[in-house]
């Protein structure tokens, strides 16, 4: 997927002015936050479980090369073929080759963010394979001219019921339905036919279990099970960082992932899939391929951003982010929105291509507090800001202003003088009113709010006055 992250400011402004989006975001916000808060109370030692999850993810990242080899040999021993892809293009090439080898005409897909990174659907079409998204949210997006998702676990959180009703009426050519169960039933019937006729299933992977060479898939709709049970070929596309050691580790993570994501004690379906079907088995794929993807991940290993690779893609950071709640996911411009996206997008697509994202945060640390694997997201955002400054990527005006500020702030006399003039100027500008509607030196800042007018004297002046008896 091509990144539009360089247009963050325009996209965010448009999102704030979009009433349908604003209404949808407001509805979603409470549900995610409240449900998670209730669900984590079921865990006696939630903090201890977070710490255990953090440690087990770190354990793998610290020796990622060897854990990958372990996973690969155990998966291969059970009949899977393990392929590797450096980037999105190579993912597409692998899938096209697999398609050709097995004479594939149609591929049903359960949600895979990596296939979004790769723009896989377009590549499949170009190779004569019809891709069908089967997660209800992803399906809605696909039939709406391949609109990108706006949330990693709730892809159409930005859409209203009315919009979905209109879309189904137009695309399915059926009478308009306005009840959510009826719309869900309609999608179920359309997609059931695809499940039964597809010859390839494509899924992501929530975790790769090194001990057994398995992939763990977590879904509620059951589409993940369909995609990995019915077609004769199953392709798993997942990042190299998704390896975990044991089934016990999977058990620990399953206490955190559904609770953090949707506020469920457990997702409806947790599938642990290993190898291909036995000759006499009645269902299951005959061929299983893993595509282990780098696409920027290997370069994060060993860096000051390595902690980001612990991410288990639950979406709690965006659900709790005041910036995400206000602008939704599309404004971030690439596959991953919210705080985790603001760290991943610059790391995977280049610091210079996502210049505003590390600043799209108030650093309030809500994301850091809720993260089930304790990723210090605000720290990572701050480090990205430092990197931008080191590489002179910030706008020249900002750099000049900060240089001037540093010069003035380093001298108490200059500082006192500057502030003395400043508060008097601003008081004069306010003309007796309590606030200033437009500041010509910071027009962006006052576009959405007024600047409170100073009283006319500096803190130092007031303090000096008070000290006198």
């Amino acid at each position: 997927m091509e990144s539009r992250s360089h247009r963050f400011k325009e996209n965010a402004a448009a999102a704030l002015a979009n009433p349908v989006l604003q209404a949808s975001m407001k509805k979603a916000k409470g549900k995610f936050v409240d449900k998670r808060a209730i669900a984590i109370k079921e865990i006696d030692d939630f903090e201890g479980t977070r710490e255990a999850a953090k440690q087990l993810r770190d354990r793998v990242l610290e020796n990622l090369d060897l854990w990958l080899e372990k996973f690969e040999s155990n998966a291969t021993a059970r009949g899977a073929t393990v392929l590797w892809a450096k980037d999105g293009e190579e993912i597409c090439r692998h899938v096209a080759e697999i398609g050709k080898r097995h004479g594939i005409k149609k591929a049903v897909k359960s949600k895979s963010m990596l296939s979004e990174e790769a723009g896989l659907n377009q590549a499949l079409e170009a190779n004569g394979i019809q891709p069908v998204e089967t997660d209800l949210g992803e399906y809605i997006l696909q039939i709406n001219n391949n609109e990108p998702p706006s949330h990693i676990i709730a892809p159409v959180v930005h859409k209203s019921l009315d919009e979905v009703a209109d879309l189904f009426e137009k695309v399915h050519k059926t009478p308009r339905k306005t009840e959510i169960p009826a719309l869900t039933r309609e999608a179920r019937e359309v997609l059931r036919t695809h499940f039964l006729t597809a010859d390839m299933g494509i899924s992501g992977g929530n975790f790769l279990v090194a001990e057994t060479g398995s992939v763990a898939l977590v879904t509620n709709e059951g589409n993940g099970r369909m995609v990995t049970t019915l077609p004769r070929v199953h392709v798993v596309i997942t990042g190299i960082e998704k390896v975990i050691p044991t089934l016990e580790d999977l058990s620990t993570l399953m206490r955190l992932l559904p609770r953090s994501a949707t506020g469920q004690s457990i997702s409806n379906y947790v599938s642990v899939l290993t190898g291909t079907k036995a000759a006499d088995e009645l269902d299951g794929p005959e061929h299983l391929y893993y595509i282990l993807v780098d696409n920027g991940r290997a370069d994060v290993i060993g860096s000051e951003f390595q902690e980001m690779l612990r991410c288990i893609r639950c979406g709690a950071c965006m659900n709790h982010c005041p910036v995400y709640q206000a602008i939704g996911g599309h404004a971030y411009g690439w596959v991953y929105p919210g705080p985790m996206g603001s760290v991943l997008t610059p790391l995977y697509t280049g610091l210079e291509n996502a210049i505003d994202l590390p600043h799209a945060a108030t650093l309030c640390n809500q994301c850091g507090v809720v993260c089930p694997v304790k990723i210090p997201l605000p720290d990572l955002l701050r480090k990205l800001r430092e990197k931008q400054t080191d590489r002179n990527l910030r706008p020249w005006l900002e750099r000049a202003a900060l240089k001037a500020w540093a010069f003035v702030a380093a001298s108490p006399t200059l500082y006192a003088l500057g502030v003395w003039f400043g508060v008097r100027y601003l008081k004069w500008l306010a003309g007796g009113k309590a606030s200033i509607p437009v500041l010509s030196v910071a027009p962006e800042w006052t576009r959405g709010r007024d600047f409170p007018a100073p009283e006319g004297r500096t803190f130092r002046e007031l303090y000096a006055q008070r000290k006198q008896p």
């Binding site: 255990a52 499940f195 997702s267 370069d299």
Partner: protein
């Protein structure tokens, strides 16, 4: 250089890998895999009646329904009652493993084969059940195919009370002990399929079953 070699070489370089630390790390990995250390666990009373009670409560919380009978032989009649009560046809696709039960006397017409789209009712057993979350663990095999719990709109599972374990850890331990290695498809199922994609409103029956009904066998 292949992509595999390229990716691994970059990871190795970033980690500062050499032969000495590789040997140490390999030993560590073997230790971790052998130790199978568990994380902190919520308290689950492992006494049998407590496990049964918790499984029932949690299953209901996940929108499953539960019926209890004394023996395995009573399951077909209980299933017939459930289907008639809902106005569903007394006709089902079943796990081959369950073909020995007396379905005919209970008036349920069953076929032991792969599930098809037209099947309205699927009847399965389970490998075990997890009390902590009210979850069924199904293991796919020749006589327990995976799609029977997936394609039909109604999924009925026969659950022996002796097969209820406290947590997912015990379920995996049981699989290691009894099956040696994980079967191709292990599915943990907690209630009917659902989606909240449209306006975060939960709807039951997304792509899988609309209903999950447990027949708990107290004496088995």
């Amino acid at each position: 250089m292949s992509s595999r070699e390229d990716i691994l070489a970059r990871v190795r370089q970033k980690l500062g890998r050499n032969e000495t630390n590789a040997a140490v790390a390999r030993a560590e990995i073997d230790t971790v895999l052998a130790a199978k250390a568990q994380g902190p666990r919520p308290q689950v009373d492992a006494e049998k009646s407590a496990l049964v009670g918790r499984l029932i409560d949690k299953s209901r919380a996940y929108s499953s329904t539960v019926d209890q009978v004394a023996t395995r032989g009573e399951a077909p009649a209980a299933i017939a009652r459930y289907l008639i009560g809902l106005g569903l046809p007394a006709q089902a696709v079943i796990w081959p493993k369950l073909a020995d039960l007396d379905w005919a006397s209970a008036g349920v017409i069953v076929q032991a084969r792969a599930a098809q789209d037209a099947d309205l009712v699927g009847i399965t057993g389970c490998f075990c059940a997890v009390a902590e979350t009210g979850t069924l663990m199904l293991c796919g095999s020749v006589d327990s195919p995976a799609a029977i719990s997936l394609l039909p709109e109604t999924h009925i599972a026969i659950v022996p009370a002796s097969r209820i374990v406290p947590g997912m850890e015990e379920a995996f331990a049981l699989a290691r002990k009894e099956l040696g290695q994980l079967p191709r498809a292990v599915n943990f199922i907690s209630g009917p399929s659902r989606t909240g994609d449209i306006e975060q409103t939960i709807v039951l029956g997304a792509h899988g079953p609309y209903r999950v009904h447990l027949i708990l066998i107290d004496g088995a």
